[in-house]
């Protein structure tokens, strides 16, 4: 089984070389094949044949093959950049470096490394080594203070997924097919027609199909599996909620505060303050507002209006909304800060020209201000996502502790609950790896899709 994967890699390696090079030499085909095999062999070498031993399931094989494919692909990308360099082709096509003349250090090649070493050493000790340890841990059953740990291969991962390997392959393929189908339709249709409108709608659904495919791939629990599907769903809902609320709210407030009003600078300063608050304090604040016994909001509603506000922690919708409100409010100041700075770069000439042309306030906002803010929006999208993924633990821990019945337990909350509070290091590590992969995937996706639409001005 393992050999089969390596053979496939040996065949696909040259195919990759053929696709990315003009008339490659036989030597390059050979190197491509060898590098692909080596890249594919990295994970089996590190983990042994555990995924193919007796008693392993199709899902284990699938994960092993995926990792082999990933290893082969990454090593081929590196190889290709070496080929490009040998051919004199610039692999880096971004506008920045092209304009800057490259130079060297007079003292020798080691000077830049020496200058970089403080940063590199810190990165290696505090980032890369722990990251590698996390990967190792994720394949183990391990606890703090235990006399031993047990290698469990991929089981920390497989128990998060559904048990049918064919479905696991089919769902992502279907999602990819949907995306490419929508893209194909988009290319075939011309602007302004009904067909284009349909294609636009189809593109949105194609994007959603990725989330739906992932939803179907995570296990709903039972039969010794971990119920990770609800966690995934909570994470999507709460993350999207926080990012949408934080960014739309941030832009709206910044747009209002940017106008010339008396004491504007005071408002603008005050608006940024929530950012200085820690996620834990944000949790405590909103807990104090909405708590059914001691909450200010519930008290006011009850005594002034006679409305009995339900306990937000016993209703899934209210609980998620309160987490979104608290976390979104905390990041609001940060978004306002960046949008205020961004608004100052919007060309007033263009706005005035539009005004003279008779564009309404809404049209000016949508057609001129929004596009001008796109680099800031893109930057904020990435930072807000990272915030919503990684920094909501304390807020949730203070407000709901995952209540009701895990409906506000997002990925990072689960990681800490399982890995730290329950001391299950292996499962915690496996879930961290999953979150790590998710963030990388989303960021790459953003750079590919949203990134294309960002204009940085200039020619």
């Amino acid at each position: 089984m393992l050999i089969l994967g390596l053979v496939v890699a040996a065949i696909l390696g040259p195919a990759y070389v053929w696709r990315n090079n003009d008339n490659p030499s036989a030597r390059r085909y050979g190197i491509g094949s060898a590098v692909a095999v080596l890249g594919a062999a990295v994970t089996p070498l590190a983990m042994g044949r555990c995924a193919f031993e007796e008693g392993t399931s199709g899902v284990d094989h699938l994960l092993a093959y995926s990792l082999m494919a990933g290893g082969a692909w990454l090593s081929l990308i590196v190889l290709q950049s070496l080929f490009d360099r040998a051919d004199g082709r610039k692999s880096d096509t971004s506008g920045m470096t092209g304009e800057i003349r490259t130079g060297g250090f007079r003292l020798g090649w080691w000077v830049p490394w020496a200058l970089l070493s403080p940063t590199l050493i810190i990165l290696i000790i505090f980032l890369y080594l722990p990251a590698i340890q996390t990967f190792t841990l994720s394949t183990q059953l391990a606890k703090l203070g235990a006399p031993k740990s047990v290698d469990v291969c991929f089981s920390n991962f497989t128990e998060l997924l559904i048990a049918d390997p064919w479905k696991l392959v089919a769902y992502p393929l279907l999602a990819i097919a949907a995306i490419y189908g929508a893209r194909f339709w988009l290319h075939r249709s011309s602007p302004g027609t009904w067909s284009r409108k349909g294609a636009d709608i189809a593109s949105v659904f194609a994007m959603l199909s990725v989330f739906i495919a992932l939803y179907a791939m995570f296990s709903p629990g039972g039969g010794g599996q971990v119920a990770y599907r609800p966690v995934y769903l909570n994470t999507v809902i709460i993350t999207v909620g926080i990012v949408a609320f934080g960014m739309i709210g941030g832009l709206a407030v910044a747009y209002l505060a940017f106008r010339t009003i008396r004491g504007g600078s005071v408002y603008r300063t005050l608006l940024i303050w929530p950012y200085a608050i820690s996620p834990a304090v944000a949790g405590v604040l909103f807990f104090m507002i909405f708590d059914p016994t001691a909450g200010i909001f519930t008290h006011v509603m009850d005594t002034w209006f006679g409305i009995d506000v339900p306990n937000y922690r016993e209703n899934a919708l209210l609980a998620q909304a309160s987490i979104i409100l608290a976390s979104g409010w905390k990041i609001l100041g940060y978004n306002i800060l960046f949008y205020l700075a961004g608004l100052q770069t919007v060309s007033l000439d263009q706005v005035e020209a539009a005004l003279i042309d008779g564009a309404s306030a809404w049209q000016r906002f949508v057609k001129i201000v929004l596009p001008a803010l796109s680099p800031i929006t893109f930057f904020l999208l990435v930072t807000n996502l990272v915030y919503a993924f990684f920094e909501v633990y304390a807020t949730i821990d203070f407000m709901t502790k995952g209540a009701p019945a895990g409906k506000t337990s997002v990925a990072i909350y689960e990681i800490i609950r399982v890995g730290v509070n329950n001391g299950d290091l292996g499962r915690g590590a496996a879930q961290s790896v999953l979150l790590f992969a998710a963030v990388i995937a989303i960021t790459l996706w953003q750079f590919r899709t949203t990134g294309e639409r960002v204009t940085y001005g200039g020619a």
């Binding site: 403080p118 940063t119 606890k143 235990a146 039972g222 708590d291 016994t293 609950r417 509070n421 329950n422």
Partner: protein, 489 residues
């Protein structure tokens, strides 16, 4: 600036790698820093702790340092520990007991294990009852147990550095719980049981003269209370914490783990589907369904439930006796009569007994004789009759030794504060059986989490008790068998 950071890193690494003995003052600071780096979620508490280090270290020049890591961060209980450490240091100037505060028991334990591996362990740590098995099983990187039996270390001495040994005077309920393989491993400290507090003003108004004793009595009382024209929004509450479930199992004589609750041999199976378990959860869910039970909506919510009682949103609360003093004062402030009574039990089966909860102080292995004697002297000083009595009066945790009980009786404390005696009486009324002793389980923290989540599901989502507990049982047994695979030898 970067070079400074680099330098700091190099120093840190050097400090972490050095294998000096833990006694000297020079490494004490390094000890603090390495733990901070290791237990990353501890930033705030350890930041506070390093302040402490400077204040207490200043007082002593060449004194032997004994680090005492405490899982309390509130002023009253942490303050008590610091005060007693200072008194001990003044009495024994050759020692310097340094108290460091942590946010939770788990944080203390994780930090201690990491500190052992980095070669700079504390002397004493504060760790809770449910993790007794975990503490006994814990080993360092070298494969040796982290903790040393306090009984073995005392080795039959009746006094250490002039401090009389109080271990023999520990009350039975705590002694029996913490005695594993025939000896005390750790020194009991904060020990409590679950008791009920009743707002007698509301109960009397509803025509109930005595706090309800059995489950059926609670239902009768609740029906009367909720029928009042100015009825509170709920009748009774208690935190959704596995401890209450364990108490109920003890009352009904039901075992949680096999092999006599893990007391005759290691528990290898856990039973979350026993009749007692289902009876208790059915009763709990029934109270919730009829609107008698108020769920705060948060797991392990000690503060919210107590706040609801103070705000007279409920007429009764079942909670830890460690809050007797707090609740007595709160009820006085809120202006109602508060009476403490035993935790309600199932009247349909014979009452077997309630168990303790709380924590003990564990001594780490590997200290030199001088340091270890200092640690042992401190432990016995810390729970001497005066201190144990003061601790009881401050909080409501039971007086941990018989000598402390006698002292309190001679002072007339119980006539003055009858509510304080209920927990001790309840524990004394328990039979000495494995069920009422409570379980010793591996991965108990994780299993408790499984139970708590299942109960929240039952209360909030109205799912069937037996079905939900079957799923929880499967999960808990998986968790336990994995633990036994790692620790079971």
């Amino acid at each position: 600036m970067r070079y400074l950071v680099l330098l700091a890193v190099v120093v840190l690494v050097a400090a972490a790698c050095s294998s000096d003995d833990s006694g000297s003052d020079t490494t004490a600071a390094g000890d603090e820093t390495t733990t901070t780096a290791a237990a990353s979620d501890e930033t705030t508490t350890t930041a506070a702790a390093s302040d402490e280090t400077t204040t207490t270290a200043a007082a002593s020049g060449d004194a032997t340092t004994i680090d005492f890591w405490v899982a309390f961060s509130d002023e009253a209980r942490l303050g008590f520990s610091e005060e007693k450490a200072a008194e001990f240091n003044a009495k024994h100037p050759e020692y310097n007991v340094q108290v460091t505060s942590f946010a939770s028991y788990n944080d203390v334990f994780d930090a201690a294990v990491l500190a052992v591996d980095s070669g700079e362990p504390p002397g004493l740590i504060h760790f809770f009852e449910a993790a007794t098995r975990q503490a006994l099983d814990a080993v360092g990187a070298d494969g040796n147990p982290i903790f040393k039996s306090v009984t073995d270390a005392i080795a039959g001495r009746t006094e250490i550095l002039g401090e009389p040994v109080v271990l023999d005077s520990v009350v039975d309920a705590a002694r029996n719980y913490y005695t594993v393989d025939g000896s005390f491993y750790s020194m009991p400290w904060n020990t409590s049981s679950t008791v009920m507090f009743s707002n007698m003003d509301i109960l009397n108004e509803a025509g109930i003269t005595e706090p309800p004793a059995t489950w059926a009595d609670v239902e009768t009382a609740c029906a009367a209370i909720m029928a009042l024209p100015d009825a509170p929004s709920g009748c009774i509450t208690w935190p959704n914490h596995s401890w209450f479930v364990e108490q109920s199992l003890g009352q009904q004589g039901e075992l949680l783990g096999n092999n006599d609750n893990g007391r005759s041999a290691r528990a290898t199976e856990v039973n979350l589907e026993s009749d007692g378990m289902l009876a208790y959860l059915d009763w709990w869910k029934g109270l919730d369904d009829s609107g008698y039970y108020t769920y705060s909506g948060l797991q392990r919510d000690w503060d919210g439930t107590t706040a609801a009682y103070f705000a007279t949103e409920v007429a009764m609360i079942v909670t830890s006796s460690s809050d007797v003093t707090l609740i007595d004062e709160g009820a006085l402030g809120a202006g109602f009569t508060n009476v403490t009574s035993f935790m309600p039990y199932n009247g349909d089966v014979d009452y077997v007994g309630n168990l303790i909860g709380g924590a003990t102080i564990w001594m780490l292995d590997g200290m030199d004789q001088t340091t270890e004697d200092g640690a042992l002297a401190f432990l016995n000083f810390f729970s001497n009759p005066e201190n144990a009595a003061a601790w009881h009066q401050l909080t409501g945790y039971i007086p941990i030794t018989q000598d402390a009980v006698d002292l309190l009786e001679s002072q007339g404390w119980y006539e003055e504060s009858p509510n304080s005696k209920v927990a001790s009486d309840q524990l004394a009324a328990a039979e000495n059986t494995p069920a009422s002793l409570g379980a010793l389980l591996g991965n108990f923290v994780g299993i408790r989490d499984v139970i708590t989540i299942a109960i929240e599901d039952i209360l909030v989502n109205d799912v069937d008790v037996a079905t939900r507990m079957a799923a929880a049982n499967e999960e808990a047994n998986k968790s336990l068998s994995e633990y036994e695979l790692l620790f079971g030898g």
